[in-house]
């Protein structure tokens, strides 16, 4: 299987409240392939979001490299953005645009026009069951519906790589289920999905392989079966605890 994401020694340093250096990500390395859901597991503040933001080119790494769909995130950020669909809790929707306008706006930016744009927008509206809300402004939509539009916004250009940062966070059961079904369908279509979460049931259900990230570093990676074997633990929570240690 073709490798879609390769991350090598990626690091990001911020300055703290007193000007001290905070290493949010400290030499992270992993690789994801097409047709695979790769889980990035970690506690809040472990460095998952910063890593994914670097892969989406919104943040510039302090050190290290990463290739997304063969493009370097530092030297060719535009090509990277063309190849990915990125969704996180902080990527909001324009409240005064309708669902359809949102999809069209982002589709156009990814080079879709005319019939290609129309069919891409219709496909997304149908896939996510939001066709009847197409003329509603996003601010009027329910949380679940907004999430569907947001996922639609991320995939309207049919990217080979999906980067999803805790996509079910804050969603109700049905909306979360829709999101997880969507991830599974992406895998079936041969897409590469990089998926960050701290919900172990999602890991069990979706991830082919995982990397456990803690305090900015990858502490362990492999399939869940491999990690179980390595830690001697049965339940995913116990596996996780064994890898990161007892954290206060």
């Amino acid at each position: 299987m073709t490798e879609r994401i390769r991350v090598q020694d990626l690091a990001k340093t911020f300055l703290g409240a007193k000007g001290e250096e905070i290493r949010a990500v400290n030499g992270v390395s992993f690789a994801c392939r097409e047709g695979e859901v790769f889980g990035l597991l970690g506690l809040n503040g472990a460095g998952k979001t910063t890593t994914l933001r670097m892969l989406s080119t919104v943040l510039t790494p302090t050190a290290g490299t990463a290739l997304v769909n063969g493009h370097d995130i530092a030297s060719d950020p535009q090509a990277v953005r063309e190849s990915i669909g990125f969704l996180s809790g902080t990527t909001g929707l324009y409240p005064r645009l309708t669902a359809e306008e949102t999809l069209r706006f982002f589709g156009e930016f990814h080079g879709l026009e005319g019939d290609r744009l129309n069919s891409a927008v219709e496909r997304v509206l149908e896939t996510f069951g939001i066709a009847k809300y197409r003329t509603q402004r996003c601010e009027k939509l329910s949380t679940g519906m907004k999430q569907k539009v947001n996922i639609g916004r991320a995939v309207v250009h049919d990217p080979p790589v999906l980067i999803l940062d805790e996509p079910t966070s804050g969603l109700d059961v049905l909306a979360a289920a829709t999101t997880l079904e969507f991830v599974e369908s992406c895998r079936a279509e041969g897409k590469c999905v990089l998926f960050s979460t701290h919900i172990m049931s999602e890991v069990e259900r979706l991830c082919d392989r995982v990397a456990i990230i803690h305090e900015g570093s990858v502490r362990a990676s492999g399939t869940m079966a491999e990690l179980r074997e390595r830690t001697g633990q049965k339940y995913p929570e116990e596996v996780f605890r064994a890898v990161v240690g007892n954290v206060e």
């Binding site: 911020f14 300055l15 007193k18 000007g19 535009q78 990125f86 990527t91 909001g92 409240p95 930016f109």
Partner: protein
């Protein structure tokens, strides 16, 4: 109940106080903004008043000799004979006013004789003359009337002796232009800022708050394209706001809503109006860029609004400069951002346009717009801007944080010295001066050192090192040689575009003059030599050298030093002196030669001005320059021997190494 309210209040206050950005923006910024605004306003007003005080008005008086007699005592009036065409002479500025009285001041029935004062409303000088003449004639008429009333034994009513009528020779277009010229530039600038603020707050800070900015930056286009697109939106909105406001103002004038201030808009020069609309375009670019950049620095809408507030206050200044006629559009003012357009619009409405100056205003505004746009694009491409977090605290213990802390400390020192020192000196001049220099300034310096310092030996920061004797001698020679070039070179040159008020060179009379020379020497020469040097060449030059280049440290500390003399007229000379003194410290690595320079220079100025300033002879000029150059050579030689520099002496110390 009250305990619960107390708990809520405590919680709210704690939250507010911990929002340091909001505190700085809503409390500290206005403290910094108002002094700048008011000192500029009062300086402009003073300049305008001084100009009026110095004006000599050419006035023609015809008719009854009593009228001429009533004006005889009026100062600064040159009575001239009536030109062949007095209205044209007034319109051309050859005559300020014409007082036209009947041959005899005799009442005809109930009608008082009419005295007309002809003037031109859009010429400041003519309007001032008209006001003075009217006041003088009214006063004289009252005096005569009182005398007659007394002579009549205090009985009966005499009625008005004369009826004063002012007649404006301006054309309809000129009158309309004069009225509109006072208000329109001011309102235009303000409305552009308001329009830009509304849009820029929403499309950057608002996007951050809603989380859409990160979504937007995920699209595969360069960040500069997004920045440019946002700029175009704000620019367009600002242009539309400006044009609509201009149209609305025109309608208000036309419809009579402005009451007495109503003017016939159709009488306004179409060229003037066209110019106003045309100049909105580059002006809006500058305004849009400023507001967009500042809005981008904010993390949310609330912060953006707080950040833009001081700018909106400062935006009053350019419009205010154009509301009178004290500030003229010149090759210098045509380069000022924003104010240049306000002045050009005013002149356009007054029908006093100069094409080369207009061209310069346009080019300068486009240039400012370009610079501001680049700054904005830079901010909008930064990851901390996009994600709405600040990667570095404002006063972090990093070079950038220390630099900001030092700049804030410098600004606070200048302002605190101005306010507290000013109050003390108003209370008691001599004691106040002593306290300002020996207590207020050192305390401010110590506080700055504590707030912005980053450790290190105090003696190193303040350059407290024993100097070489040659350096001290060089400093004395520099101090003795710099006076003539400074007073008769720099200040004279400055006077050509910024005329000095009379008696500006220092009035050593009054309480200060009575103090006696030893006390004066102590207060005016020795005290500034020690205290001002310790703070500006010690604390601030020392701190700034640690966070930037020597050149920028010399320039910024000298600008701070010049600003504590809070006078537009003294800025350039004190800034240059600051450069020389900072150069001495950088070259000799010791503060003592600059202390000596400062004391000797102030003492020599005090003694020379006390004797009266005379234009120096070529010999004095030559001698001064020679002494100055000798001082330069000595300081340079002392620097070379102490191992610092060794190249050309430069007041900015470009070739010096950075302080250890």
């Amino acid at each position: 109940m009250s305990a619960r309210i107390g708990s809520f209040v405590r919680k709210e206050i704690r939250e507010i106080v911990r929002d340091r950005r909001a505190i700085i923006l809503s409390f500290v910024m206005p403290i910094l903004v108002y002094p700048v605004m008011f000192s500029l306003m009062s300086s402009t007003e003073r300049k305008s008043e001084e100009k009026v005080q110095q004006e000599v008005h050419r006035v023609a008086v015809t008719g009854a000799p009593e009228v001429r007699d009533a004006l005889a005592d009026l100062e600064r009036v040159e009575f001239v004979s009536l030109p062949a065409d007095p209205k044209k002479a007034i319109a051309d500025g050859d005559l300020e006013a014409w007082v036209e009285a009947p041959d005899t001041l005799v009442r005809e029935g109930d009608e008082a004789p009419v005295v007309r004062i002809w003037h031109h409303v859009s010429h400041d000088k003519s309007r001032n003359a008209e006001e003075r003449l009217q006041e003088a004639l009214a006063r004289a008429a009252e005096r005569v009337k009182d005398a007659r009333y007394q002579a009549a034994g205090g009985h009966g009513s005499l009625g008005d002796l004369v009826t004063l009528v002012t007649v404006d020779v301006a054309t309809k277009e000129e009158t309309a232009g004069a009225e509109a010229g006072r208000l329109v530039p001011y309102l235009l600038v303000m409305t552009l800022f308001i329009g830009a603020a509304a849009v820029s707050t929403d499309i950057v800070a608002g996007e951050k708050e809603r989380g859409t900015l990160e979504t937007l930056y995920l699209v595969p286009v360069p960040r500069e394209v997004i920045a440019r697109a946002k700029f175009f939106v704000v620019w367009g909105a600002t242009i539309i706001t400006g044009t609509l406001n201009l149209a609305s103002m025109a309608w208000c004038y036309r419809s009579g809503l402005m009451g007495d201030a109503s003017v016939d808009v159709s009488a306004l020069s179409p060229a003037g109006l066209g110019l106003a609309v045309l100049l909105i375009v580059p002006l809006a670019a500058v305004v849009a860029g400023i507001m967009l950049g500042l809005s981008a620095l904010a993390r949310n809408v609330k912060e953006a609004q707080l950040q833009l507030m001081p700018v909106m206050l400062l935006a009053i200044i350019p419009g205010m400069l154009a509301s009178g006629q004290a500030v003229k559009l010149s090759p210098v003012t045509a380069l000022w951002p924003i104010a240049n357009v306000a002045l050009a619009v005013r002149d356009g409405l007054l029908g006093q346009m100069s094409l080369p100056l207009l061209g310069l205003v346009f080019v300068a505004s486009v240039g400012w717009g370009f610079l501001v746009t680049r700054w904005t694009a830079g901010i909008l491409s930064r990851e901390d801007t996009i994600l709405g977090f600040s990667p570095e605290p404002l006063f972090a213990h990093t070079t950038g944080g220390r630099r900001r802390a030092t700049m804030l400390a410098l600004a606070a020192t200048v302002l605190a010295f101005f306010y507290v020192g000013g109050l003390l000196q108003t209370w008691k001049l001599l004691l106040g001066l002593g306290l300002s220099l020996w207590v207020v300034l050192p305390l401010l310096g110590a506080a700055s050192l504590r707030f912005a310092g980053s450790g290190g030996r105090l003696a190193d920061v303040l350059s407290l090192r024993a100097p070489r004797p040659l350096a001290l001698l060089g400093a004395v020679l520099l101090a003795l040689g710099v006076g003539v070039p400074l007073f008769f070179g720099v200040m004279k040159l400055q006077g050509t575009f910024l005329p000095m008020p009379e008696n500006f060179m220092g009035d050593f009379g009054g309480e200060l003059g009575d103090a006696g020379k030893p006390l004066m020497l102590f207060l005016i020469a020795i005290s500034p030599g020690i205290c001002e040097e310790l703070v500006f060449r010690g604390v601030f030059l020392g701190l700034l050298r640690r966070v930037g280049t020597v050149r920028s440290a010399v320039l910024i500390s000298s600008a701070g030093f010049a600003l504590i003399h809070l006078s537009v007229f003294r800025f350039a000379p004190t800034f240059l002196l600051g450069l020389v003194m900072a150069g001495i410290v950088v070259r000799t690595r010791s503060i003592f030669p600059s202390m000596l320079f400062h004391a000797v220079y102030n003492a020599s100025v005090m003694l020379v001005i006390g004797e009266g300033l005379l234009e120096p002879s070529p010999l004095t000029w030559g001698g001064s320059v020679a002494v100055f150059l000798a001082g330069v050579l000595l300081v340079r030689s002392a620097a070379a021997r102490s191992g610092e520099g060794g190249g050309r002496f430069s007041p900015t110390g470009e070739e010096s190494r950075r302080a250890p």
